[in-house]
């Protein structure tokens, strides 16, 4: 936990958090708050307040889902060339080539399917998490 001194900047009209009491501009009224992170302080309809646990949980879920999406995209990206080859053969109407490619890359295609299944399971676990600790314990790592 850390202390911050939150205030609305008189010229910029934005929320500021001083990390040292002397960093508050002279003549400005600040609210002293105890926070885990300075991100916990928000300006809500002109009022300075701390985020609720529900708001923090929802924010963390969105962040974790974005992290998962990016991670899965990187994993699948390594074998995207196979999908492109199959799609090209399909576009040319070459069904023999499509089947040959599917056989040749059967193992890789199974791996892609497994990654997609793991992605769905992890996504669901993130959405179902009820506490921040539960959410933070979900590791975005395949295999």
């Amino acid at each position: 936990m850390m202390k911050v001194w939150a205030y609305i900047h008189p010229q910029l009209n934005i929320l500021c958090c001083a990390l040292l009491p002397e960093a508050v501009p002279e003549g400005v009224e600040a609210v002293e708050l105890e926070v885990e992170s300075h991100d916990d302080v928000i300006l809500d309809n002109g009022q300075i307040r701390l985020k609720t646990e529900a708001e923090k949980l929802e924010e963390e879920k969105q962040r974790k889902l974005a992290e998962l999406k990016s991670y899965v995209a990187r994993l699948l990206g390594q074998t995207d060339y196979i999908i492109v080859k199959i799609a090209e053969a399909q576009t040319l109407g070459d069904t023999n080539a499509v089947e040959q490619l599917k056989q040749k890359y059967a193992e890789k295609l199974q791996q892609r399917e497994a990654i997609r299944q793991w992605n769905e399971q992890t996504k669901q676990a993130i959405r179902n998490a009820e506490t921040l600790d539960e959410l933070r314990s979900i590791e975005i790592k395949y295999g």
Binding site: V4, L15, C16, A18, L19, L20, D39, E67, R74
Partner: protein, 223 residues
């Protein structure tokens, strides 16, 4: 006022006639020796205390007010089990700093970041950030990007970082090497910009970490 011991003393030439107050002179840095300028007119840098330029290193570990670094002067700030470290360095526009942020360990913490808060303050939605990574597993890609954050953002996890900080353009640029807890390592680059100049930048700022950390920060003023 030193007196040059030249001349006849007690009926003979003094044995230390080539000394000043009993000390020899030399161009080579040596203990108990008077420095002599090189042909360039400058002293050998070895005559100066550790550091570059002015040769001064100041320890701002327990400073309670801001110190104005001179060009070439560097500051060291040690920290132990801290989540935030005020640099206690006074600044203004037209300055360029080199910063080494060195932690005693590298923790693998995804999705949380190290920040630098100019003026020891956060300013809502006033900073942009971009970062990318490459690692020894062969993965690469975005780490994060935003045009609306409340402080300079460095990098996720708690990596050792090298930073160039430009107070005129209000841009921080850097790179880092991070360890993942196994035999893999990663390399990351990051940049962050304070896209408002309506507030004067008078105090270099406070580093904020995602968890309690120990280590040291070296800040060298280049311009």
């Amino acid at each position: 006022m030193p007196i040059l011991n030249v001349g006849m003393v007690s009926g003979g030439w003094a044995t230390d006639a080539d000394k000043v107050d009993g000390f020899h002179a030399s161009q080579t840095p040596t203990a108990n020796t008077i420095p002599v300028a090189l042909p360039t007119g400058k002293l050998d840098i070895g005559w100066l205390p550790d550091g570059i330029g002015s040769g001064r290193r100041v320890d701002l570990t327990n400073a309670t007010s801001d110190y104005m670094l001179q060009v070439g002067e560097e500051a060291i700030i040690n920290f132990t089990n801290a989540t935030s470290v005020p640099l206690r360095i006074a600044t203004s526009e037209n300055r360029l700093y080199e910063i080494f942020l060195q932690f005693s360990v590298n923790l693998s913490l995804a999705g949380v970041y190290v920040h630098l808060n100019p003026n020891n303050t956060t300013y809502a939605s006033s900073f942009s950030h971009t970062s990318m990574h490459w690692n020894s597993s062969g993965e690469s890609g975005w780490v994060a990007y935003t045009a609306s954050y409340n402080a300079f953002r460095l990098y996720s996890q708690t990596p050792h970082s090298y930073i160039i900080l430009d107070t005129t353009r209000r841009i921080l640029r850097g790179f880092t090497g991070y360890e993942g807890g196994d035999n893999h390592l990663g390399y990351g680059i990051f940049a962050s910009k304070w896209h408002s100049n309506l507030v004067s930048w008078t105090s270099l700022g406070t580093f904020a970490f995602p968890t309690s950390m120990s280590g040291y920060i070296l800040v060298r003023r280049l311009v």
